[in-house]
Symmetry: C2
Subunit: 315 residues, 2 copies
């Protein structure tokens, strides 16, 4: 019997606890903060936004498993124990993200906000509509999520370009990489989809300078931003400035440097901004608990865990 | 030199005329109503919503080519000459329709209207979200447009069922057909996408009785209607009644029995209705003119035209 800790902040841990107990009755499931027991028992910590310093209190940890796709909050803990940190990679999570990206690319491409406004005025007026093949979507971040979104957008007919830290090859996608590849990538991208991890190198990357470089080919109404990656990537004030000056036609933001987005943020009320509450790829215990428990089983059988974080690069 | 007539109502014929002249300088392009010349010259009539009786005035027509996907308006002309009537089938038109269907299925699936409302209230609140595989989309009409939409929705992860007049086989799609197949098809469909042609048999098919049969499996907020087929399929008053009584959670309507939708229609202001101005699959001369001219070339070379209307069944 292996002791597994669930330490979850910001989500209701109930569903996770039930699912872990149902799927792994052979294990001893402990739930922070009320039912931790002897910290020395804990071998695996399955966590979402645990308070900094918490994990240092478990001397016999073998691995830390994140219950969400991002791990930047975890790595920000200066006392994080020196054990493997495992990210979740799950087809369910990937497809939810793909749904979100496709939805918001199409909402802009098909000018749904304009047709909504016309409906409020009872106006029947058709506007000329480019075909998807005339529109270039740029995906920043070509990991599992970015690759899936890129492939689906291609199937719908969009031209897709990609950018990543290291070289990646994706059929049909012109792929750029590294600092030197960023500007040519941006110059082509009229709809920018940001799915990068938050690392010291990507912090604040979505700033006014970057937004000024986005392509304006004329097929759409201007450059457009979709950030469903991490809040730390974006500079809210720069996005607002780009919207105000007209260099950005609109933005869809699922993530923010501060979450929940503070009620006084001008992003909430901006007519060109769509805000969703960090739900682009909802982590649902029903399917994800199985992925996490499979990783624990791998480690228990002596195999190295998959999808571990490289602390040197931050994801 | 063959004389080709363009007779277009409700759209600006300019783009079509320019494109026809550019692509087919060897032909004699005439434009109704101002530059028809001798009616006896005209061999092909390329039309969109021509007035009833107009085409009877051309005694030497070899074929009538519709510039849009639907032909019900044409067939309603009691004096329609007895020559082949050709529908447009074009990959560009097909993909535009697929974009539209995918956009509106995802908007409902991802509860975008609810998140929009929350944004107006500056509310950060996540709702539980089914995965696409828990949601059944039913496609009525499995022609070129329905098949393309069905396949793309499947790739995104939705469960797709289909219904058509005659038996059709589509990989991965449970396909129903005919009068006896309608009810079992509807019972499964939680999001109903209507892409049927308007024929005497389908007129008014989207009525209260049909809407009552839609599936309510609990994964979504209730049954949902997307009609991007033809306006004659739907009974506006029945859709409103279904929305009012709660048997329908929402509707997206691109087509109406009367177009433009009259300003006094209560559909315009209904909070659960999305209205678009018959632009789900915009017919754009840039690409479609080539499809039409290719059909004319086929006939001129002695081959039978493709995608002809069967007047007995009405599409």
């Amino acid at each position: 019997m292996t002791s597994i800790l669930l330490a979850i902040m910001g989500w209701d841990p109930k569903g996770w606890e039930q699912r872990f107990r149902a799927l792994a009755p052979q294990h001893d499931i402990r739930v922070w903060p009320d039912a931790v027991g002897d910290p020395a028992d804990i071998r695996y910590a399955c966590v979402w936004k645990p308070p900094a310093g918490l994990l240092a209190g478990f001397p016999n940890l073998k691995a830390i498993l994140s219950l969400g796709a991002g791990a930047d909050d975890l790595l920000a803990d200066p006392e994080l124990p020196d054990v493997p940190v495992v990210r979740i990679v799950d087809p369910d999570l990937t497809m939810r993200m793909t749904e979100y990206v496709v939805l918001h690319v199409l909402m802009y491409h098909r000018r749904q906000r304009l047709y909504d406004a016309q409906q409020r005025e009872r106006r029947w007026l058709e506007h000329s509509q480019p075909v998807a093949s005339e529109v270039v979507v740029g995906i920043m971040g070509l990991g599992v999520l970015g690759t899936s979104a890129a492939q689906m957008l291609q199937r719908i007919g969009f031209k897709v370009v990609g950018w990543s830290r290291t070289p990646k090859a994706l059929p049909g996608v012109e792929a750029f990489h590294g600092a030197r590849g960023l500007e040519p990538f941006l110059r082509q991208s009229e709809i920018l989809v940001c799915l990068l991890p938050a690392t010291p190198a990507t912090r604040g990357i979505v700033n006014l300078d970057l937004l000024h470089k986005l392509g304006r080919h004329g097929a759409l109404q201007g450059a457009y931003l979709i950030n469903a990656g991490r809040g730390a990537l974006q500079v809210d004030a720069d996005i607002l400035a780009a919207l105000e000056e007209g260099s950005l036609a609109g933005a869809v933001l699922d993530v923010f440097p501060t979450e929940p987005l503070p009620i006084e943020s001008p992003l909430w009320g901006h007519p060109k901004v769509t805000i969703t509450p960090h739900n682009a790829a909802q982590a649902v215990p029903q399917t994800l608990a199985m992925s996490v428990l499979q990783q624990i089983d791998r480690i228990e059988r002596g195999h190295p865990p998959e999808n571990t974080i490289d602390r040197a690069i931050g994801y």
